[in-house]
């Protein structure tokens, strides 16, 4: 709540104070949504998922196909986002149906493989997806409440913030619902949960589909913001790992944690690293042609260190979920 209120305040004061923070915050909100999706799968249900980028890609393409004028549909923003969510949920269901009986680490590898196959399929089915060009240009949303979606970042910020607020409330309610309690039970001990009359596989499937739908919405927002799906290679393993970093930094299973994690990770990757690089270049320590001078070249290292260090010192994240979690011998 506090975080969302802070985000609203930021949106109001950013224009007059010329902070310029609303612009990069749009990316943070998109990845917060991706993180919320992964949090349902990995945080609530305890399934390591290494292919969230695939659902983001599916969402981006579903959104693009429903809005772009080279296709017959040309829906408005909200209906298209609905289609996107359904497409994502369907994809999550299709991936989950045959694979959710697998052990934890095998499931992780299957999701990774799915992420790679999705990229290849999107790249190679160029009759539909336009291959490496991506689908573009997408029309800007025309929504009465938010103002003109032109070059100013503010309407985008408000729109994305509204979607994020909705998603946060949906996640919070889901967590407290019967389904949510079943997710947590399956995470803590699948055997015990099934003894209590919870059927683990349908419960996991629900988590997979819901998480995929949220990731797809994030993809739709991304495509809408850049008016293009971009090339399929954008939705690579790095994005899936970024989502994992967001959830792990914040604290698995903690919704506030996801928001903090998105702020921290995207803040580091998209704001702090470029600032650091330009500062180092001004000081003459490195120059732009040097491998160390490009902020992009540090991302793998940052993500890797985040994962290794967090697993070692704070496996429960910065803002751990309130529920008492089992300390040793997690269900594999």
């Amino acid at each position: 709540m506090l975080l969302l209120a802070a985000a609203v305040v930021l949106g109001i004061i950013d224009g007059p104070l010329k902070l310029g923070l609303v612009d990069p915050m749009r990316g943070v909100l998109i990845f917060a949504l991706l993180g919320l999706g992964l949090n349902i799968v990995t945080g609530f249900t305890g399934l390591l998922h290494l292919g969230m980028a695939a659902f983001m890609a599916i969402g981006a393409y579903a959104f693009a196909i429903s809005t772009c004028d080279i296709y017959p549909f040309q829906l408005g923003f909200w209906p298209a986002l609905g289609v996107t969510a359904v497409a994502g949920a369907l994809a999550g269901f299709l991936l989950g149906a045959p694979t959710l009986g697998l052990r934890g680490d095998y499931l992780a590898i299957v999701t990774l493989g799915f992420g790679e196959i999705a990229q290849d399929v999107l790249k190679n089915l160029d009759a539909i997806t336009k291959g490496t060009q991506g689908i573009n240009p997408l029309p800007p949303p025309s929504l009465p409440l938010f103002g003109e979606f032109g070059s100013s970042p503010a309407p985008w910020y408000w729109l994305f913030l509204a979607i994020t607020v909705l998603a946060v409330f949906a996640c919070r309610n889901l967590e407290r619902s019967r389904t949510g309690r079943a997710w947590l039970a399956v995470r803590e001990d699948e055997l015990a949960a099934s003894c209590m009359g919870i059927a683990p596989i349908p419960v996991k499937m629900y988590a997979f589909a819901t998480g995929a739908a949220l990731a797809a919405i994030a993809g739709g927002m991304w495509a809408s913001l850049y008016a293009s799906t971009g090339e399929p290679g954008n939705y690579d393993f790095q994005i899936s790992i970024l989502a994992l970093c967001i959830v792990i930094v914040g604290g698995m299973g903690s919704i506030n944690g996801v928001l903090v994690g998105a702020l921290a990770m995207i803040g580091v990757a998209n704001i702090a690293l470029p600032k650091l690089a330009s500062w180092l270049q001004q000081k003459g320590v490195v120059n732009a042609s040097n491998v160390l001078g490009s902020p992009n070249n540090w991302k793998y290292l940052v993500f890797g260190l985040v994962l290794v260090v967090m697993m070692r010192v704070r496996p429960d994240g910065l803002l751990p979920a309130r529920l008492e979690r089992r300390k040793a011998g997690g269900s594999a």
């Binding site: 305890g46 390591l48 290494l50 045959p98 694979t99 697998l102 052990r103 934890g104 680490d105 095998y106 992780a108 590898i109 299957v110 493989g113 799915f114 790679e116 196959i117 290849d120 399929v121 790249k123 190679n124 055997l191 393993f237 790992i241 994992l244 792990i248 040097n290 491998v291 160390l292 070249n297 540090w298 991302k299 793998y300 290292l301 993500f303 890797g304 260190l305 985040v306 994962l307 290794v308 697993m311 070692r312 496996p315 040793a328 011998g329 997690g330 269900s331 594999a332």
Partner: protein
């Protein structure tokens, strides 16, 4: 891409040969050629797959960083080759250069793999398995970044002005001339010979080590039950460390052979090759060393046939598809023992 590169050189040769002898069935020669290419690549994949399967067998960790470890081995070999000017040695000198590169990379990868285990995995021995897996993914990303920086260092050996992320040419120390008579219509080059003559002895040596030495016995014991093994006086951490050491050394050998065979390396090669090798390990039955070899050969063949008869752009999907189907329908693989969750 690398396989494409090789095929691009090999297939026209085979096709040219078949037009010389029109009486030979035209589809046989390219098929044979793809089998040769596939088996050579498959042996490299198998060598890396052994590294995955050994570690999984002993601590049930999918050692995600293994492929990227091999990348660093290849970069080290390239650096040494450049520094010593191995390319100009020629003849017997060239052969000794290859041996130097192989040994240097093996020692380096073994040491690095052992260090990663000591620093990162050892403190997490009692943590949940997914914690360990996430750490391994983190290590993988760190190694990828190290390789990226390595590729961007202004050492001159990579040829000035080449961007850090660009693939690097690896000197062709081993000739690509055909060793077989032209009438056979199949090319079997010195590189192919190198692959066979390095991988086969290593696999035999490893089998001997695991079957007949005290360390091998200790490794099998720890894989079965670490607690019981430690009660029998086995230093479990030391045995696990040795496993990382041996797996790393094999990866080091594999990385140099890979580089010599494909003549190009890049900072991301470990991800693709590592996934191929991991798929091979799973396909063969993870934890089983003969399985890793069989799986590696199968994946190598599948890649070559998919490149040749399907389309190269679908090859990665085919490999991942095999991975998923194996995990879903036969998680114990072709040769693996039935896996049970330890309760």
């Amino acid at each position: 891409m690398h396989i494409l590169h090789h095929l691009a050189a090999a297939v026209p040769l085979a096709l040219a040969a078949s037009t010389d002898a029109p009486e030979a069935a035209s589809w046989v020669d390219p098929l044979l050629q793809q089998l040769v290419t596939g088996l050579s690549n498959g042996m490299i994949i198998a060598l890396i797959a052994i590294g995955y399967t050994m570690v999984y067998g002993i601590i049930e960790l999918i050692n995600f960083a293994h492929g990227d470890l091999c990348t660093l081995g290849a970069f080290l070999a390239l650096t040494i080759a450049g520094a010593l000017g191995v390319e100009a040695w020629g003849g017997l000198g060239g052969a000794s250069g290859v041996v130097i590169l192989l040994l240097a990379s093996a020692v380096f990868c073994a040491g690095l793999n052992w260090t990663i285990d000591y620093v990162v995995y050892r403190p997490l021995r009692n943590a949940p398995k997914l914690t360990l897996l996430v750490s391994a993914i983190g290590c993988s990303f760190i190694l990828v970044n190290v390789a990226l920086f390595w590729g961007g260092l202004p050492m001159g050996v990579f040829g000035g002005g080449v961007a850090a992320a660009a693939p690097k040419d690896f000197p062709g120390l081993v000739s690509d001339d055909n060793l077989l008579p032209a009438a056979w219509h199949v090319t079997f080059t010195a590189s192919d010979l190198l692959v066979v003559s390095v991988t086969l002895p290593l696999m035999v040596a490893l089998t001997v080590l695991v079957r007949y030495t005290k360390l091998g016995k200790a490794m099998r014991a720890v894989a079965q039950n670490p607690t019981a093994a430690s009660l029998m006086g086995i230093d479990v951490d030391r045995v696990i460390g040795s496993t990382f050491l041996i797996g790393g050394a094999l990866g080091g050998f594999a990385s140099v052979i890979y580089a010599l065979y494909n003549n190009t390396i890049s900072f991301q090669m470990g991800y693709r090759t590592g996934m191929d090798a991991f798929t091979a390990a799973v396909l063969g039955g993870i934890g089983s060393m003969p399985g890793a070899v069989v799986g590696g050969l199968v994946i190598g063949l599948v890649r070559a046939l998919s490149d040749g008869y399907l389309e190269a752009r679908w090859t990665n999907s085919v490999v991942f598809g095999i991975l998923i189907l194996t995990l879903v329908f036969r998680p114990s693989g072709l040769l693996g023992a039935k896996l049970r969750d330890k309760v």
